[in-house]
């Protein structure tokens, strides 16, 4: 370290230790305040937070969210315990459940659908035309005859497999949840909705012959939040285990408690800061505080280890706690800051993934680590300096004895810094790199399992989901492609409709697709209906009158078309939401789009952009609009006819005319709300297929973002670490010795994920960055100590052996403690916590092994000039 650095350290040292009491008092005050704020922190889950809103698909999603609903659906299935559904008790329950769903706050009333709701109708053909009505007749009285009628109506309404189970042993209620109240813009409380759903389940299962199955995003949030509460126990358990291990390690009660206090203070500050910044804590991020605690302990152990060493070597004549603390502070300030800064930067890089929930995680973690710099590098030394060392005689005697005794264990480990072990380690490193690389290619992006992977496979939710998808032909996994065309395309353009119909058929042929639903199919069935139900008429008609007649009865609340029938979703129900299934569908959609590119209307595009650029005070923009409109004066589509017709005879120098034009423009804008993504205008009868909404559409976008973010994120994390190491240690080869083992562990972590069937997704992507961030600490502490010894002119082997005795021991201890701590998550109710626990434990242990075994081997090969003492 240069002189400039040490004078800086001296200054800080004096500043801190001369004002101990004031600093302690301030920290206490802050902690009390933060404790208050932290206690106010609420669980805050959201659906949109999980969406990569800047992704192409999600722009489609947002464009049509109000028209076709998003993907935030609730499904409640009422199933009989035995026999079929045609009994009075079942119908009573289903009706009551339907009513209760209406009553849930946040449910869009128009979206509630069951055989009891009026938006489900049947149509039948009779001699003189059609007959139709509600599935449950208004004069419904439970009787065998009436049940026969209802059964017939259910079949005619075409809801078997959707609202009614294939075997008639159950029925479903669907509803769409609005995340924001359309009037008050208040966000709904998912936990509340989940509780209400659970109450509905309890209420209607109680003493009844029916079983309820409830699925939907709100229910997932509820179940995850409930599961996440157990994190408190795991936190307690980890605290307890860490305390015991720390005591065994340090042999002193104060040395056990102080690092724990500092880490807990960091967590409290972190939670308080979150509240102050206006965040809540998302169930998905609930492990971050735990990580902060873990990092805190890991740095704390380095500190007490150095302090103990200092005390027991009698360097300062007396066993003086304060002097030792000052020394510890000075020695560890630089590596500590470097290590914590690289953690901070590592976490901060996650922020560049454009998904709110990940960004929240990045903020949460970054703040936490930044706070550790204060609690661990300032608070802990102060606490250590207060230890009254006069009663520590025995303790230090023991320490010294231990220290002076030659350790076979550490001698063996130190063997890795010379041959033959160094060569073997490098060979193993190369082998593992190869293995890790090959195996990591098998890692899936997205979910690799069915069901909700955040929850255990046997969790209630996943059981419910499995039951529903086995009893009903339509599963819960749906990707909706939005077909955009010209106004009234569904009745006026045979070309557009047959294109959509052909697209739907192509989608139906993709492996993994269960069923496709779109307006053209309904048009065909209804056309056949108008021809007495003869299936030979089940085709799209070229006759506009026939199409208008057929589609007149289809309302927008079916979700099959928008108001002017220019937009029609194609709902593609898939068997599951595995990444491979999603990729198949997306690839097929893209292929169809490439093979059948829509033609654009350049004049229309010009006109629409002129309309949006129109400014009645700007003559140039008026001229542009008028010119664009005049190009279309021949035969303008209805949508534009007002503007076009008006511009035909107007005088652009007349202010009255301009005012009228402005009114026309505003009318147009009112009727055609600006989409988030303004694409080129389509020529008549052309169709643009846009990916995608529906829960699987969301996953497709998320997978895409995660896949694209993965590499840049890792590159940034590593770049940050490399730069920091170069700045601190001023050696390229040494930096390589630190970073290469880390890179190996990253690959092996991917390999482990492939092996365990954990997909890379929103929840797991950060783990890799966090793992690297924590892993680098070990390397930095070890290398920093070793470099210090090397600078004293000692040989590699001696320097490393002494480093191991002090820092290595601490690193070993920390990794084991943390691995045991996170290892307890394996027993969590939540699958993703269990997965993260395994992954993190794996990364802690492997990073420790990398730092203790591979780093020295690399140092041996990369820094040969230090092999002999100088």
């Amino acid at each position: 370290m240069s002189n400039k650095n040490s004078s800086m350290v001296n200054f800080l040292q004096n500043l801190i230790f001369n004002n101990k009491k004031i600093i302690l008092f301030i920290i206490l005050l802050i902690t009390v305040g933060m404790l208050y704020f932290a206690s106010q922190l609420r669980v805050d889950a959201g659906f949109k937070k999980q969406l990569p809103l800047q992704h192409e698909y999600m722009k489609t999603f947002m464009d049509y969210e109000t028209e076709f609903g998003g993907a935030n659906r609730l499904l409640i299935a009422v199933m009989t315990k035995e026999g079929d559904m045609f009994n009075p008790s079942f119908f009573k329950t289903l009706e009551a459940v339907t009513d209760d769903v209406f009553a849930i706050k946040g449910v869009s009333p128009a979206s509630v659908t069951s055989i009891f709701t009026p938006n489900v109708r049947f149509v039948e053909v009779v001699e003189d035309g059609f007959a139709g009505g509600n599935v449950i007749p208004s004069d419904f009285q439970a009787s065998p005859e009436m049940f026969e009628v209802v059964r017939g109506n259910i079949v005619k309404a075409g809801v078997v497999g959707r609202l009614v189970a294939e075997n008639f042993n159950g029925a479903m209620v669907w509803a769409e949840l609005l995340e924001e109240d359309p009037v008050s813009h208040k966000k709904i409380n998912y936990q509340d909705v989940a509780d209400q759903l659970e109450n509905i389940r309890l209420k209607h299962e109680q003493g009844n012959e029916q079983v309820l199955h409830v699925i939907g995003f709100a229910k997932i949030v509820g179940d995850i939040s409930n599961g996440a509460k157990s994190v408190v126990y795991f936190f307690g358990l980890a605290l307890f285990i860490t305390a015991i291990l720390l005591y065994l390690y340090s042999g002193n009660i104060k040395l056990t408690i102080y690092p724990l206090i500092c880490s807990v203070v960091a967590v409290i500050w972190q939670l308080g800061t979150l509240k102050i910044l206006g965040f809540g804590i998302d169930p998905m991020n609930i492990l971050t505080p735990f990580l902060i605690f873990a990092i805190g302990v890991s740095h704390g152990v380095q500190m007490i280890s150095t302090w103990t060493d200092e005390i027991s070597t009698h360097k300062h004549g007396k066993w003086d706690g304060e002097k030792a603390a000052k020394f510890t502070f000075a020695v560890l300030l630089a590596p500590g800051i470097i290590a914590l800064l690289s953690d901070t930067i590592g976490f901060a890089t996650i922020y560049f993934i454009d998904i709110r929930i990940i960004q929240e995680l990045a903020i949460t973690a970054t703040i936490g680590v930044a706070l550790i710099i204060i609690t661990n590098l300032i608070l802990l030394p102060i606490l250590l300096s207060t230890i009254n060392t006069s009663n520590l005689g025995d303790f230090c005697e023991r320490c010294k004895l231990k220290k002076d005794k030659d350790s076979k264990f550490w001698r063996a480990i130190a063997g890795f810094i010379k041959n033959p072990l160094a060569s073997i380690a490098v060979l193993v490193l190369i082998g593992l790199f190869g293995f890790g690389y090959i195996k990591s290619q098998e890692m899936q992006i997205g979910d690799s399992q069915t069901g909700v992977p955040e929850l255990r496979p046997d969790a209630q939710y996943n059981v419910d989901a499995k039951t529903i998808s086995s009893q009903f032909s339509l599963g819960v996994d749906m990707i909706s492609v939005i077909a955009e065309s010209s106004a009234n395309a569904c009745t006026e353009s045979y070309k557009a409709m047959s294109n959509i119909d052909r697209f739907a058929w192509h989608m139906e042929n993709i492996p993994g697709v269960q069923k496709v639903i779109t307006l053209s199919q309904y048009a065909k069935v209804i056309t056949s209906g108008w021809n007495e139900g003869n299936p030979k008429w089940r085709a799209l008609s070229r006759n506009n009158y026939v199409m208008r007649q057929s589609l007149s009865s289809i309302e927008t609340d079916t979700g099959l078309l928008n108001k002017d029938c220019s937009t029609m979703p194609i709902m593609i129900f898939t068997e599951d939401h595995k990444a491979s299934t999603i990729n198949n569908v997306v690839a097929a959609v893209n292929k169809y789009r490439v093979d059948n590119p829509p033609k654009m209307d350049a004049n229309l595009t010009k006109l629409v952009s002129a309309i949006y650029a129109f400014d009645d005070s700007d003559l140039a923009s008026i001229k542009v609009l008028v010119q664009a409109a005049r190009l279309l004066s021949e035969n303008p589509a209805e949508k534009y006819s007002q503007i076009v017709n008006f511009t035909d005879g107007m005088d652009i120098n007349n202010s009255e005319d301009i005012k009228t034009l402005n009114d026309e423009v505003n009318t147009y804008k009112l009727n055609n709300p600006h989409k988030l993504t303004q694409l080129d205008e389509l020529a008549e009868g052309e169709v643009r297929f846009r990916l995608a909404t529906g829960n699987v559409g969301v996953m497709a976008a998320t997978n895409d973002v995660v896949k694209k973010a993965q590499m840049p994120m890792l590159i940034m994390v590593y770049a940050a670490i490399v730069v920091l190491c170069l700045l601190t240690f001023r050696t390229l080869l040494g930096t390589l010795a630190i970073v290469i083992p880390l890179a190996l562990v990253s690959f092996l972590a991917y390999a482990l994920m492939a092996f365990m069937g954990i997909g890379l997704k929103v929840n797991t992507l950060p783990v890799v960055a966090l793992g690297v961030g924590i892993g680098v600490d070990y390397g930095i502490y070890i290398f920093s100590k070793m470099q210090e010894f090397l600078k004293q002119g000692r040989s590699l082997y001696d320097a490393y052996y002494d480093t191991l005795r002090l820092t290595g021991k601490a690193v070993f201890f920390t990794a084991v403690t943390l691995a045991v701590g996170v290892g307890t998550w394996m027993f969590s109710d939540l699958q993703f916590q269990a997965d993260m626990g395994v992954l993190l434990a794996f990364m802690f242990v492997l990073n420790m092994l990398g730092a203790l075994l591979i780093l020295p081997a690399l140092a041996f090969w990369l820094m040969p000039k230090y092999r002999n003492p100088s």
């Binding site: 053909v125 058929w505 192509h506 042929n509 007495e532 139900g533 299936p535 030979k536 089940r538 085709a539």
Partner: protein, 306 residues
């Protein structure tokens, strides 16, 4: 000169259409709507939506989709005489194959008319009838090289649903809204008649010297005198009936909407319960070993008749 040009243009446009609109061979072709099925005892051919032509040469065990169908329109019916096959459909389309359905060419198409053909019947390799919406009645005497385009009755425009041959001279056509037509002279002249039931009849069969008509909402009419008098048969179903087959073991099976399968015997109808949830059946065919091939909205399925 102008006329020739026009004809040339029309020919070109038919060809251009054919080029663009070749039926697409798809994985799940068996799971689409099929509307008719026939056999010449070597091949079984089924036709349906999107120009789908499914061919089986092993009694319905495996099926292959014909890749050379020059249309994507919905094919509603077919007729087979040896290896010659004619299929008709929407856009007043008639296509022909001389090799049991492998290769096809367009014989007639009129997109502008916006009318479907609903049935086709060839009584030998040259003489055939294609009938359809609004009384459309096309006849040929040269295997479809030339089609004579007319109406079955100059002043009526009912949809003509099905045409059957009773013997060398007698033909019968069932139509919309209780209307029917019969011919005593192999189709030269047609007599319009009103049935006792006012709903549409979708199909007809000649079975054990009886003319059996079936149609809307399960209605079945039987005549012993080629339509002079009819008897209404009590039907066990309310589902419309669309197709029938005279099986190898001499039974008459009638199929229809919502998976309805009925057996007609001695002026009575009985429901046959077969395991299914195939939705609407449109036609049925008898193959060896008492097996039936059903076609309909869920595609093609083979079932054992007990």
């Amino acid at each position: 000169m102008n006329k020739i040009l026009l004809i040339c243009l029309m020919f070109l446009s038919v060809n251009a259409l054919a080029e663009n609109q070749k039926s697409e061979v798809m994985e799940k072709f068996l799971h689409s709507l099929y509307l008719d099925v026939k056999t010449n005892n070597k091949s079984i051919i089924a036709v349906g939506e999107r120009g789908h032509v499914a061919i089986s040469t092993d009694y319905g065990i495996t099926w292959e989709q014909s890749s050379n169908v020059p249309t994507r329109t919905t094919l509603t019916a077919l007729s087979m005489i040896n290896t010659n096959v004619w299929a008709v459909g929407h856009d007043t389309t008639i296509i022909h194959s001389s090799d049991s359905g492998k290769n096809w060419d367009v014989q007639f198409v009129d997109v502008e008319r916006q009318m479907p053909l609903l049935d086709v019947l060839f009584i030998n390799e040259s003489e055939g009838f294609a009938i359809g919406a609004y009384g459309t009645y096309l006849t040929t005497f040269d295997g479809g090289k030339n089609w004579n385009d007319s109406l079955i009755s100059p002043d009526e425009d009912y949809h003509l649903n099905k045409i059957i041959k009773i013997d060398q001279f007698k033909l019968f056509v069932v139509a919309e809204a209780g209307h029917a037509y019969r011919s005593f002279d192999a189709g030269k002249n047609w007599e319009s008649m009103k049935l006792p039931y006012s709903g549409s009849m979708f199909g007809a069969a000649y079975y054990k010297e009886q003319l059996i008509l079936y149609g809307l909402r399960g209605n079945v009419l039987v005549s012993n005198d080629f339509g002079d008098t009819f008897e209404q048969i009590k039907s066990p179903v309310q589902d419309s009936l669309f197709g029938s087959v005279h099986t190898f073991n001499n039974k008459l099976i009638i199929v229809g909407a919502n998976g309805a399968v009925l057996q007609y015997k001695n002026n009575a109808l009985n429901r046959i319960n077969l395991p299914n949830n195939d939705g609407d059946y449109t036609e049925v065919l008898s193959i060896k070993n008492n097996q039936l091939v059903f076609v309909g909205e869920s595609g093609i399925s083979k079932k054992q008749l007990r």
